[in-house]
Chain length 135, copies 2
DNA sequence: CTTGAACTTGACGTTAACGTTAATGGTAAA
DNA sequence: TTTACCATTAACGTTAACGTCAAGTTCAAG
């Protein structure tokens, strides 16, 4: 039991719809640390798969791979010392603040875009009204 | 009156804490279209300044300069024809959906991070408790 | 045991988003 | 008008995040 199923590099690539090159690159810069088979081929555990998932989410929302690595190391190393725990909590709270700030900005952007749409729709309905008056 | 105050390239750069190179680059790729002085030097109006602001907000949240240019052109050209208005509204709604989706994802990320923090804090307080038991 | 697909490590290529430098021209103050 | 600074274009340099290719290795199927 608990044979912790492993994925090959191409299985993982197919699953996330990326190339194997990307995965190797992520290993190069320290985002992943897969195990190896006897022959030296990469074997990815579920944990590595989850990491990769994290990377993609981070990427999609403006974080650089460097920042992502920091955050992954933060939440991945399972700190046990008291000092380490406190530092992690502190750093984590800061990161949460960053994310919150991004959320607020995006909400701001959205509401501005919505205002544009409202204005355009008003213009459009005025056009329709004018057309009717000629009829 | 209404002397529509103008900014030089370095004034603008200082204001946004970027280099003049960046501003010239943004003009190169069509994000800005400043006026020129007699001698050929760039003069930026308030409108251009506002555009730049938009660019930075877009950048900060994962949009490429290409996407940003599309969005700026969209909301900047003040469409007047009925067809054009309808297209703009349609495209705008799509963009709003994209932004909304990003917001939701970020909220998801945040709540996961918060969960980590909660767990770490629990661990920390257990450590404190154990320490007390020894006292 | 062979074959072919999948894998490995280099190493060089590419694109976006600027940085940097050079050679030159414009401008405001003394 | 000269000084000092700010501006211009053109061109080459840089970094992140991969793409692509070559030359060889491992693995699973028959």
């Amino acid at each position: 039991m608990s044979q912790t199923e492993m994925y090959s590099i191409s299985e993982l690539a197919r699953h996330f719809e990326i190339t194997t090159r990307t995965i190797r690159y992520y290993e190069e810069i320290g985002l992943l640390t897969p195990h190896r088979s006897e022959g030296g081929q990469r074997l990815f555990s579920k944990k590595e798969k989850a990491r990769l998932q994290l990377v993609f989410r981070g990427k999609k929302y403006g974080f650089s791979l460097d920042e992502i690595r920091d955050m992954i190391q933060l939440f991945d190393q399972d700190p046990s010392g008291r000092q380490q725990l406190e530092r992690t909590i502190q750093y984590g709270k800061e990161k949460i603040e960053e994310v919150s700030s991004r959320i607020e900005d995006l909400i701001q952007i959205r509401s501005e875009m919505e205002q544009y749409i409202v204005d355009f729709q008003k213009k459009l309905s005025e056009l329709e009204r004018d057309k009717d008056e000629y009829a």
